[in-house]
Amino acid sequence: MSAPDKTRIRFYQTGSFAVGGRLLDPEQRSVQAEGERTNAITCGHRACQGCGEALGARYALDAAVRAAQGRVIAANATGCLEVFSTPYPETSWQIPWVHSLFGNAPAVATGIAAALKAKGREDVRVIGQGGDGGTVDIGFGCLSGMFERGDDVLYLCYDNEGYMNTGVQRSGATPPAARTATTQAVGAEPGNVFGQGKSAPLIAMAHEIPYVATATVAELRDLEQKVEAAMELHGPRYIHVFVPCPLGWGSASSDTIRLARLAKETGIFPVFEARDGVVSGVSKIRRRLPVEEYLRPQRRFAHLFGDPGRPDVVARIQAGADRNIARFGLLEDEGEGR
C-alpha cells in the first residue's frame, strides 16, 4: 500500500470563529464544544468519508436542539441523509424523526406543526430537512406551500448539487458545466447546461418569509448562529447549506471543508441571510480567488482542464461568480480588505 497523499492545508480563517473556539466565552462556543451536548445524529451512520451533509446536519440540528432545549421533531425527505442514518434496524437519530417520502418533507413538517398546535405543545419545534433534490426539485411544491401558508417550520436544505444517493444525477441545483450521470462531459457544451437551475434561497425570499440564510460547512459557527437566529423566530424559515460531496463531485474526502470554503471565497456560493424577503447580511469574501481554484480539485469539472481544456467555459463560470459578488456585495469595501 502506498503512502497516503499529503495534502498541504492552508488556513484562511485567521480572525474567524473557525479555530480558537476555546478562546471564546462558553456561551459563544459551538454546541459541539460541549462535552455534555445531546447529539441529534450519532456516529455509526453509513455516510461516506468526508460527507458534507452528515457534518452540516449534525451542526445544524444540534444547534436547533440546543435552542429548543431538546424539544425538536424532524421530518426528513428521502435521500442520502435519510438512507445513511436509518439502515434497518438501526437509527442514528436521537430526536423524534420521521421519513415519509422524497417530495413531501415540508408538508409532513407542516402536519407535525399543526398537530403540536392542536395539542397545545408549542414548546416543541419542527424541522423539515432534505437534500437539494428533495428540496429544489421534487419537494418544491410542498416547500412553497409551507412557505406561503406561514407554517411554523425551519426547513434545512443540504445542497450537494445533485442526486448523489441514486448515482449522481443532475438536479435543479447542479452547477453549469458539472459532469453528472445525466449531464455527460461530452459535446460542445460538456456537463450541465448553462442557464439552467434555480436559486432556492432567492425563491424562498420571494415568499417574504421571516428568515432565509445560506451557509457552508466551512464556517460551521456561522451555520450554528444562523440556526440559532432562525430558532428565535416563528413561521417558515429556510437555511440552504452548501455541503460538498466527495462521491458525486470526485473530490478528496479531506477536501470537503476546503471546497466549501473555496465556493464561498470564489463567489460561486454567496453566503448571506435575509429577513422578510430582504438581504440583511452577507459573509464577505476574505481573500478573493479565481474559480479555477475551486473547480480544479473536482473530477466533475476535470473536462475543463484537460488538454486543450476549456478556458472559455471556466471564464463563463468566473463570470457567474463575478455576478454573485456584484449582486450580493461580497467584497470588503475598498481599504477594508484583509
Partner: protein, 376 residues
C-alpha cells in the same frame, strides 16, 4: 373551526392533494387525529402518500367522493378512483346513502385507531355528495362515548424519541407487509363488531362487511357497491313482485375483502352478476375478480356488467332488462350497460380508414353532436 366551535383543531389549506395527505401523515405521526377528503384526479395525485400512510400504519381517515379518472377528463361519478387504490393498504368502506356515509366515518375513526391503519370512506360523487338528504347527526357526547380519545401506537415525542420511516431492506420488508395484511384480516372481525356497537349506541344498522338484500332463496344475485344499491334494490323488488327469485348483495367493505361472507351470501345462487362502476382495461371487472375468488369451486354462472362510467345514469329500467337476461342465463361474461356500440363502431371504422384518425374522445363527441364543431 375558525369560530372555535371545533376545538382543539387545526385546518390546513394545502397546495395539492399530495400535500394534503402528507400533512395528514405528519399530523397523525405527531399524535393528532388526522382527516382529509379527495376525489378522482386528486386521489391519484396523492397516491404516493396514500401508500405511505398505510405502510407507516397511520390511522388517517379520508373521504373519497368517488369520481371518474381521465383522460378523457370527466368530473362525474364512478368508482375508478377508489378502485385504483384497492391494494394501497387502506381499508375501504363504501356507503350506500348519505346517512351511512356519516355513520361510516364515525366507525372508520374507531376502526383506524384500534388497528393503527388508515381507512377510506368511499361515497359516490354527486349522487351522494351533491344530493340533499336528511341525515341524523349524532350528538358530540354520544360520538365521544363511542369513539375513545386517540391513543396513538407510535408518536413523535421529544420525551420518548422514536424513528419512524426507516429504510427497510429484504431482511424485514416482507414481515412489515404481513403485519399490514394481518391488520386487515383483524378488520374482518372488527368491522361487524364495530357496526354492532354502533347500532347499540345509535340505533342504526350501518356498516358491516356485506349487506344481503332478499338473497335467501334467490337464484340470481346482483353484487354492487355504493349508492347504486338503492336502484338495484328497487329493481329487485319489482322483479320479486313478478315472481323472479332475485336478490342483491351490497359490499360495504371492499378492503379487507370479506371472502367468507361473500361466499356465504352467494353460494346457493345460480347466477351472480357483478355490477361495477369501474373498468379494469385489459380484463374487465375488478370486483368480479374478488367475487370469483370467494366462489372458487362453485358451479355458479358469473357475469360482469360495467355500468355508470363517467356518470352515465344507471336506470331502473335498464337494470330490470339486465337482470331478466341474467336470470335467464343469457348474459355474456362481460357487458357494458347502455353502451352505444354504434359510436364505438364508427370510431373503429375511422381508425381502419386512416392513420391520422385523431383523438377518440373528440371524434366521438362530434358523432354524438355534443360539441358545436361538426366533422365535414
Amino acid at each position: 373551526m375558525k369560530l372555535g366551535e371545533l376545538s382543539p383543531c387545526e385546518f390546513v389549506n394545502v397546495e395539492s392533494e399530495f400535500a394534503a395527505m402528507s400533512v395528514a401523515i405528519g399530523a397523525s405521526a405527531a399524535g393528532a387525529r388526522a382527516y382529509t377528503a379527495t376525489a378522482s384526479q386528486g386521489l391519484l395525485f396523492m397516491v404516493e402518500a396514500v401508500y405511505n400512510a398505510a405502510g407507516l400504519g397511520l390511522p388517517i381517515v379520508m373521504t373519497v367522493a368517488n369520481r371518474a379518472i381521465g383522460a378523457p377528463i370527466n368530473i362525474w361519478n364512478d368508482h375508478s378512483d377508489a378502485m385504483s387504490q384497492r391494494d394501497s393498504g387502506w381499508i375501504q368502506l363504501y356507503a350506500e346513502t348519505n346517512q351511512e356515509a356519516l355513520d361510516l366515518h364515525i366507525q372508520a375513526f374507531r376502526l383506524a385507531e384500534e388497528l393503527s391503519t388508515p381507512v377510506m370512506v368511499c361515497m359516490d360523487g354527486f349522487i351522494l355528495t351533491h344530493a340533499y338528504e336528511e341525515v341524523e347527526m349524532p350528538a358530540q357526547a354520544d360520538v365521544d362515548a363511542f369513539l375513545p380519545a386517540f391513543e396513538p401506537r407510535q408518536v413523535l415525542d421529544p420525551d420518548e424519541p422514536v424513528t419512524i420511516g426507516a429504510m427497510v431492506g429484504p431482511e424485514a420488508f416482507t414481515e412489515v407487509k404481513i403485519l399490514q395484511h394481518y391488520k386487515q384480516m383483524l378488520a374482518l372481525d372488527r368491522i361487524p363488531e364495530i357496526a354492532a356497537d354502533f347500532q347499540r349506541a345509535f340505533g342504526r344498522d350501518s356498516g358491516g362487511l356485506v349487506r344481503p338484500y332478499r338473497t335467501e332463496d334467490a337464484e340470481t344475485i346482483v353484487v354492487a357497491l355504493g349508492s347504486v344499491l338503492g336502484t338495484i334494490e328497487e329493481a329487485v323488488d319489482e322483479l320479486r313482485e313478478e315472481g323472479v327469485r332475485i336478490g342483491a348483495l351490497a359490499l360495504t367493505s371492499f378492503r379487507p375483502f370479506p371472502l367468507d361472507a361473500v361466499r356465504a351470501a352467494l353460494e346457493h345462487a345460480t347466477n351472480v352478476v357483478v355490477l361495477e362502476k369501474a373498468l379494469a382495461v385489459g380484463i374487465g371487472g375488478i370486483v368480479t375478480s374478488n367475487v370469483r375468488l370467494a366462489l372458487s369451486g362453485l358451479p355458479i354462472h358469473g357475469s360482469t356488467v360495467i355500468a355508470g362510467l363517467g356518470g352515465r345514469p344507471i336506470t331502473q329500467r335498464s337494470l330490470r332488462d339486465l337482470f331478466l337476461r341474467a336470470h335467464a342465463g343469457e348474459l355474456e361474461s362481460l357487458s357494458f350497460l347502455d353502451a352505444d356500440w354504434g359510436l364505438v363502431e364508427r370510431e373503429l371504422q375511422r381508425m381502419s380508414q386512416m392513420q391520422r384518425s385523431g383523438p377518440h374522445a373528440e371524434n366521438i363527441l362530434r358523432d354524438v353532436g355534443a360539441v358545436a364543431h361538426k366533422a365535414v
